[in-house]
Amino acid sequence: MTDALLTAEDAGLLSCHSCSLLTRAKSGADPGAHEEQHCPRCGSALHMRKPDSLTRTWALVIAAFLCYIPANLLPMTVVTSLGKVQSDTIMSGVIYFLQHGEWPIGLVILIASVVVPLTKLFILVYLLISVQRKSQWRPLERTRLYRVTEAIGRWSMTDIYVVTILVALVRLGNLATIEAGIGAIFFGGVVVLTIIAAMTFDPREIWDNMESTNDR
C-alpha cells in the first residue's frame, strides 16, 4: 500500500467511534448543518470529528485548573488524635513523608497527586494551542503525548482511595479518627474533569493540519 495518504474525511467517509464501521457521509453535508447520522451497524451518532472538540476540551481543562487550586489549599485529611486536630493538604502530606525518611510513599503521592494531573493538564493545553495554531511540528510525537494523557489520568485517583481507606479504618473515637477534608472533593473533581477532557479531545485534529498542505 504505497498509494497517497487518504483519510476517511478525504474520502467522504464517517468512521464509527464504537464499532469502526465506515459510512458514507450524506452528500452535501456541510459542517454547519447539524443533521445527525447514525451508524447503521451499532447505532452510535456519527461525526467527522468529535463535536466541538477544542471548545469542550478547553472548558474542561480550565475547570480542572480552577479545581486544582482549592484541591491544594484545602485539607485532604483531618486527623483527630487524643484531642489534637491536624489538617493535611496534599503538599504537607508529601513533605511530612519526605522529612521522615519515608520517601517511597512520599514519592508515590507526589507523582499521583501533583505530577500526573499537572503533566496531563499542561500536555492538553499544549495540544490545544498547537492544533489551533495549525502546527505541523512532529505530529507523531504529539499523538504520543495525547496517548500519555489518556493513560496516566486514572492514577491520580490513588490519593482519593487512600483517604477512603484511612477514613474506614481509623475511627477509634478519641484515640484516633481520620476524616476526609474538603480538598478531597475538589481533587476528585480535578481527576474526573481531566479524564473527560482527554476523551473530548480529538487527536485527528493534529493530523488534519498536516493534510491541508500536503495533499490539497
Binding site: L13, C19, S20, C42, G43, T158, R171, L172
Partner: protein, 204 residues
C-alpha cells in the same frame, strides 16, 4: 465509489487502511502513519472472555464480602471492606467522594462483568443476546471508569501510612483484589470486538 466494507479508518489520525483478507489470529495491526492500534485478533476470544468473566465475578464477590484490611490499636480493632469505606465517607457528608469511589471500584467493574456475561454466554451458545449492539457499545464506554488497579495502589499506600501507627492485618479480600485486577485486564485483552460486531452484522 470506494468499497468501504474492507476498509478501516485509524481512530487517532483518520488514515484509511485496507483490512487484510486473511488476518492472522493473535496479531495486532497498527496504523502505518501514527502507530495507533487498529485491531487485535484473538483466538477463541468468546471462550476466553467468558472464562475470565466467570473468574472475575467469583473474585469480585470474595473481594467485596470480606474485609481487606484490619487495623489494631490498643486493643481496639476496626476492619474495612470496600463498601464500608464508601459508607464512612457518606456519613461524614462527603457524598461526592463516596459516589466517585462507589462508581469506580464497585458499580462500574461489576456492571462490566455482568454485561460481559450477558453478551458472551449467549454468543458461546450460538444465540444473539437482545440489544447486543447497544449493550456492547455501553460496556465499551464504561471501561475508562473502572479503576480497581488504582485502588490496589491506594491500599498499598494506606498500609505503609498506617504501619508505623498501629498493627495492620491484611485480609483475604486483599488477595482476591490483586487476582481480580489481573483477571479484569486479561478479560479486556482477550475481547475481540470484531467478533461481536460481525455477529451484529450477521443479525441484520
Amino acid at each position: 465509489m470506494i468499497d468501504t466494507s474492507n476498509l478501516i479508518a485509524c481512530h487517532e489520525c483518520d488514515l484509511l487502511h485496507r483490512i487484510p483478507a486473511q488476518e492472522g489470529l493473535h496479531c495486532v495491526s497498527r496504523c502505518r502513519r501514527c502507530n495507533a492500534m487498529l485491531h487485535r485478533g484473538v483466538e477463541n476470544s468468546i471462550d476466553r472472555t467468558l472464562a475470565l468473566t466467570f473468574a472475575g465475578l467469583i473474585l469480585f464477590v470474595v473481594a467485596n464480602y470480606f474485609p481487606f484490611l484490619a487495623f489494631k490499636l490498643q486493643g481496639q480493632e476496626t476492619q474495612t471492606t470496600l463498601i464500608s469505606g464508601v459508607i464512612g465517607l457518606h456519613d461524614e457528608g462527603k457524598w461526592e467522594i463516596a459516589l466517585l469511589v462507589l462508581l469506580t471500584t464497585i458499580v462500574v467493574p461489576l456492571t462490566q462483568l455482568l454485561l460481559q456475561l450477558y453478551i458472551f454466554l449467549p454468543l458461546k451458545l450460538n444465540r444473539t443476546p437482545w440489544f447486543l449492539a447497544k449493550v456492547f457499545r455501553f460496556a465499551g464506554k464504561l471501561s475508562p471508569w473502572s479503576m480497581m488497579e488504582v485502588f490496589l495502589i491506594g491500599i498499598l499506600v494506606a498500609i505503609v501510612k498506617l504501619v508505623g501507627m498501629a498493627q495492620i492485618i491484611p485480609g483475604v479480600a486483599l488477595w482476591s483484589f490483586a487476582l481480580l485486577i489481573v483477571v479484569l485486564a486479561a478479560a479486556s485483552a482477550n475481547m475481540d470486538s470484531r467478533v461481536v460486531w460481525d455477529r451484529v452484522e450477521y443479525q441484520r
